[in-house]
């Protein structure tokens, strides 16, 4: 019988080897497929049930935190956003079934305590039960953020304040937006319904128009055209343009007109502060497609903005071939019409680069991350993104923009409190074709104090209402910028 017993042993070993092979197949081979299965909620539940660190502003206002649920709830923790909708475009939401956005997404590992540093440091926590979650500190200033929200009111648009020397975003507000607490609910179905609703309504509240959308910039773009021409040597401060109400570019019979068909001309400060269109159309066409496109590229136009929040978009100008065949469009592109489109954040960066001696910093909103004991995990080091102009050009542009505030299109509205001098450029981007009802975006891009800039700002109001469409960048966006800068500079 012993021979049969040996065979039995072999058969049983073979059976167990089959089990071992199948285990390898499942636990190693199929692991990625199984983990990715949408019905497999293990990882999500684990994440969702873990404690999670705070997100706060630079002045220590908590803007996202986790609170313990009552015993017996489905989940141990509830993510809450104490400031409602004020920071939704910055923190994003953290949901059970619909993922996470913005900081909740990109800093998930820090917040959940899952970076390698935290894991090593947190080894103790295995024994003493402390959690290992981390904190994210944004560069946002709570007062300035609130001021931006209040100043914009219920008009669609956005306000971005950045620090020219570092690229730190001090305030970033987009309207319409949504209350993050409505999405980060325990009821997964409800969260889905809310998201669907937010996706479907006009104004796209889920998109932060400050950095995820682009708009026609109007005359604010003239600072870029001017910088290009000054650096090229095509024009100087002393250049002059004859008075005219319209200019006929090559390749067309349709002339380019000044705003409101006004007669306009003079030296560079004059045409800049009055925001004449024809001189800048002439400059763009004289510079030619290659130089204009190259200048736009020096400003980072055409590239996705290297922001530390996800899904930022890029500004657009156009390419050489397109403009060579459409010189009139290059002309109107020179004053921010046509196909030119700018991301509001990018326009703020343009003002900041003028304020910062011609150097454009990478924008960032995540200032630093900390472990549970308050030790720094990572602190954002300001880095240069572009150098779009020479220091001399930036100094001259500052002078031109001061002129806009003191005698030009922003004279009405940019006299800051305490006599602080601002520098600005307005824009009124005409969206309607000739003969259609007026529709325009109102822009202002500015910085202050003009001689020792602390803040650069952009205000953009979307031309979705008659009130905005009938106004101009100076009269509509100007007061918003003034209110925000007053709060910021009062600190």
């Amino acid at each position: 019988m012993n021979q049969r017993i040996r065979r039995l042993a072999v058969v049983l070993i073979v059976l167990y080897v089959v089990l071992f092979a199948q285990l390898n197949f499942i636990q190693v081979g199929q692991k990625p497929t199984l983990d990715a299965d949408t019905r497999n909620t293990r990882q999500t539940v684990r994440d969702y049930n873990d404690p999670r660190g705070d997100i706060r502003t630079s002045d220590d206002v908590v803007i996202a935190t986790s609170v313990r649920n009552k015993a017996g709830s489905e989940f141990d923790w509830q993510r809450t956003y104490p400031e409602g909708d004020l920071y939704s475009a910055i923190t994003g939401y953290f949901t059970f079934g619909y993922g996470a956005t913005q900081i909740e997404k990109v800093q998930n590992d820090v917040l959940a305590g899952r970076t390698i540093e935290q894991q090593i440091k947190g080894f103790r926590s295995l024994f003493n039960g402390e959690n290992t979650t981390g904190t994210v500190e944004t560069t946002i200033d709570a007062d300035i953020q609130q001021a931006a929200k209040d100043a914009l009111g219920n008009r669609e648009g956005s306000v971005v304040v950045i620090e020219p020397a570092t690229g730190a975003v001090i305030a970033m507000w987009s309207w319409p937006t949504y209350d993050t607490n409505l999405v980060a609910v325990q009821d997964n179905e409800l969260a889905g319904d809310v998201l669907n609703y937010l996706n479907d309504i006009p104004g796209k509240p889920l998109l932060a128009n400050a950095y995820q959308e682009r708009y026609m910039p109007g005359s604010t773009f003239k600072v870029i055209t001017t910088a290009a021409a000054l650096d090229d040597g095509l024009i100087t401060r002393e250049s002059t343009w004859a008075d005219e109400s319209e200019f006929l570019p090559p390749q067309t019979t349709d002339p380019i007109q000044n705003y409101g068909n006004k007669v306009c001309g003079g030296d560079l400060p004059e045409v800049f502060l009055r925001s004449c269109n024809t001189p800048f159309a002439r400059i763009a066409i004289e510079l030619g497609p290659e130089k204009m496109v190259a200048a736009a590229k020096r400003f980072g136009i055409g590239e996705v903005i290297p922001f530390d929040l996800p899904r930022s978009t890029s500004s657009q100008f156009g390419d050489v071939e397109y403009f060579t065949q459409n010189l009139p469009l290059l002309g109107i592109g020179g004053f921010g019409q046509g196909n030119t489109q700018m991301v509001p954040l990018h326009m703020a960066m343009v003002a900041a680069s003028i304020a910062h001696g011609g150097v454009m910093m990478k924008p960032y909103v995540i200032g630093a991350t900390y472990d549970h004991d308050g030790g720094v995990l990572q602190r954002t080091v300001p880095t240069v993104w572009k150098t779009p102009m020479t220091p001399a050009t930036s100094a001259l542009l500052t002078e031109l923009m001061v002129g806009v505030v003191n005698e030009g299109t922003a004279k009405c509205c940019m006299n800051l409190a305490n006599g602080i001098q601002a520098a600005a450029k307005t824009g009124t981007a005409q969206l309607n074709a000739a003969g259609e009802p007026e529709r325009s975006h109102a822009w202002i891009t500015a910085f202050a104090p003009a001689q020792a800039p602390k803040y650069a700002i952009v205000v953009m109001l979307k031309g979705t209402t008659a009130e905005i469409s009938e106004g101009t960048g100076g009269t509509l966006a100007g007061p918003v910028a003034k209110k925000v800068l007053d709060v910021a500079l009062a600190q």
Binding site: M1, L8, I13, L19, V28, T33, L34, G129
Partner: protein, 464 residues
Amino acid sequence: MTDTNNVIAARRRSTEFRLVLMAGIITAGAYTLASLGQNSVIPPRILPFLAVLLLVLMSAHIGVRWLAQGADSTLLPVATLLNGIGYVMIARLSERLAGLQTTWTFVAVAAFVGVLFVIQRVNDLARYKWTFFFFGAGLLLLPMVPGIGFSSGGARIWVSVGPINFQPGEFAKIALALFIAGYLADNRELIAAGTWKVGRFYLPEPRHLLPLLAAWGFSVVVMVGQKDLGSSLLFFTLFIVMVWVATEKTSFLVIGLGLFATGATAAYFMFDHVQTRVAIWLDPWSRYDGKGYQIAQAMYALGSGGVGGTGLGLGDPTRIPEAKNDFIFAAIGEELGLFGSTAILIAFLLLIGAGLRTAMRTSRPFEKLLAVGLTTILGMQAFIIIGGVIRVVPLTGITLPFVSYGGSSLVANYVLLALLIRVSDSSARRLGEIADSATFSERFATRLAQRRVRKHPEELEAMS
């Protein structure tokens, strides 16, 4: 007992002691880690736990040292390791069940020592083969008795007496293995000889084969009738393996496999629940919202464990329905990863190896067949349920020996282990590895006889 004889036994027992201690250390470590992983605290009841663990392990070990000195040294440690890992997993899933499992472990170890004490001459059991059959058959039928029997999870295999619920089938398997071993030990040559000529074939005399076939047929029909597919499959395999080993006739193996194929096909077409089992085995995903959910969750659990596992207490095994029972292997695979699940496989292979080695060392047919039968029960039961969980074979509900939660299963498997250890010890005695000293009952009988001779010397004279 002489000193030379004692050396082998002493070495075996001290090996067993060290291995049992290691199993204890692994269990205690795993218990602590699971608590740390789950609640980040050293388990509050760690001291009572260690005391109970030590008590259980040492009782079993001292039981073997006292009653089965010459037995194989790996059987008990591997079983206690499996029991320990199972306990840690159950405790991690439910504290309430952990308390019950502790009680059952005490009962099981008591039964283990009890069996070693009561059954000191394993060959004596062969005489009671028909008793074992009727005992086993009775146990199998018990769940059908109105009033005490009830079904749970689709199978009518439970009996409730007072506060205690148990599965008599777990014990019936051992009784039936004892019966088949006893019957074949007596009749195997007659069955193998094939003296009945039918046409061109020589078949075993019906009077030798029929009782066995009847007993086997009855058991399988009862188990199938109770919808206990796992047990019927296990018993079928047990029967075929034992007949094949006993008769050394491959034809029985072929006939057995043929019968199995026929039976399985018939069952497939006759029973809806068999069709469902096969369907969810082939594709659990399309039945995710129904019967396939459990297997799908087991797959997710194993996948989420990966190679290294999520760590004890850090996984999410409560999402698998019946994780404490039939699906405990998936829970282990999740938290201990491929390393842990493979360790379980290796532990069962070690048990199989030790069991079959025991079978090969003994010269007595009954002991040989009994050891083969008991080892087959262990090895096949583990294969059937692990294979069911990881989709090697269709899932048939059955416990994972020593690991799953459940009193009947745990006690029955410790009884089975005691019998294997007893066989192993008795062959060591016969091989002269240790002194074959008289057993407790033999010494008692001797003393009775001596007293009688002293009181009535005339009886002795009359006998001679």
